[in-house]
Amino acid sequence: MNAPDTLETPAAAPPGAPRARILAVTSGKGGVGKTFLSANLAAALARRGLRVLVLDADLGLANLDVVLNLHPKVTLHDVFTGRATLAQAVLPAPGGFSVLLAGSGLVEYSRLTPEVRDKLLAVINEVTPRFDIVLLDTGAGISDVVLYTVSLADEVLIVATPEPTSMTDAYATIKVLATQQGRRELKLIVNQVPRSGDGRAVAGQLRQVIDRFVAPPLGSAVDLALVGDVPIDAGVRDAVKKRQLVVESMPGTPAAQAIVALAARLSP
């Protein structure tokens, strides 16, 4: 039960046709490993036989291309301006999934206008029939572009670390999504935990504050499900520096194994 439990539904979902599950990956705070997780999760999901697309929805400061060491000639910007078709802009990524890169410098799209809204919606409606899972890697913060992107998703994955600033921003994001978009079920991934299993404490703390401050005025429960955590791992640092996917280049590391486990839990 995903979309039916949220109050708002994405506009113009193709009627009846099979389409990808859309997962928004968002965090509030930047620098918590959101893009790193999106890319590695996509690779782990692809290995499970799923057709996965990562859409770089950080329209202003995209860096999925950097994480994946790609130098795209065609980006979302070209699709928006009609210079390229969507088929030309969907590129294969190392790891067996597809990407649609924003390319940095899409500053004119960093504010939500009806034009950006309609273009993004058209792109998403066009790609969803061709994939099993679409990951929307949103920008940092809680801007209206981020909120709109998240509103198009069936499910929301909140990425947080045990850092106080990250937890505060994750909480603020949950609060906004629950009150503004009517989200009642959210998923949490805790990245950079000192020990495997530490994510439970972070989820517990967030739930406690949600139950006390967010849910009562809404008159209904807001559920935060912990998908799992990813431990701090020297392998991750190496992989990021080499611009490789940790699940590909260092599959034996605790972080890689944790991400593979996340993918299993997120699979249908």
Binding site: T168, Q180, Q208, P217, L218, S220
Partner: protein, 253 residues
């Protein structure tokens, strides 16, 4: 694409044979200005317009009826989704209305409903749609209402009704109060009017549960995290592993 041109259409059919008595009787009874002039197509158009108006109003109060309100709400939900402007819907219910009916009779109840309807209409902007939503339940949709003004707008309505004295037969004046619940349409997101109303209804239920004669609005999205929330977020189990369990702690160094 073919475009039909008005001048290429056949001549307007005669309206001579149409049975209009029942429609005209209805309009007369509802106090509509009777269309004058020759009974031609233009006259018939006036009759149809009057019938549309009649079928979109509540007979007792003259407010928009539920059908008309739902149309207005659908339009507004769509506009909010496209333009991102904030819009508020309020559901208002007269407190203990059954007591009025049971104690003073239904005629008195009708007078109260009419008085409340007039007050609601006087309290809002011309662009706002006020409707009788059910028995003693009213609804208002306020387009382009910023969250900062919502509480004030809802309270103005509640206070005006509270301050109003309704004269009923036998020299009796009645005072009623109402409870109001409100919710904003989520900007940029296409949603349904039905869900929007449901969210306002949840808040109305809260207003009733919290003691009536009050307004409850669904909290708007605020990303601000209060010191109290922060304290709870870091106060308990995590505090041992964090350097600064409480950011407002005075620096002792």
């Amino acid at each position: 694409m073919s475009v039909s041109r008005p001048d290429s259409q056949a001549a307007a059919p005669s309206i001579d044979g149409l049975r209009l008595d029942a429609a005209l009787q209805l309009l007369q009874r509802a106090g509509h200005e009777f269309p004058d002039g020759p009974r031609d197509a233009a006259w018939l158009q006036k009759v149809l317009d009057a019938l549309c108006d009649l079928s979109s109003r509540d007979a007792l109060t003259g407010l928009a009826n539920r059908r008309q309100f739902e149309l207005a709400l659908d339009r507004e939900a769509d506009r909010v989704a496209r333009a991102g402007e904030p819009a508020l819907v309020l559901l208002l219910d007269i407190d203990h209305f059954k007591r009025v009916n049971d104690t003073y009779g239904h005629a008195a109840g009708d007078l109260v409903l009419q008085a409340v309807a007039r007050t609601l209409q006087d309290c809002v902007r011309p662009m706002d749609t006020v409707a009788r939503y059910g028995g003693e339940e009213f609804a208002i949709v306020l387009p382009n209402c910023p969250p900062a003004f919502a509480q004030a707008a809802a309270e103005r309505v509640r206070r005006a009704v509270e301050a109003q004295a309704v004269s009923v037969s036998g020299g009796i004046t009645l005072n009623v109060t109402l409870s109001a619940g409100g919710a904003f349409a989520p900007p940029w997101v296409r949603s349904s009017a039905r869900l929007w109303i449901e969210r306002a209804d949840t808040q109305l239920y809260r207003a009733k549960a919290e003691g009536r004669n009050r307004t409850c609005l669904e909290p708007t999205a605020v990303s601000h995290v209060s010191a109290e929330e922060r304290g709870m977020l870091f106060g308990v189990t995590l505090s041992t592993s964090l350097d600064e369990p409480n950011s407002s702690r005075p620096d002792s160094a």
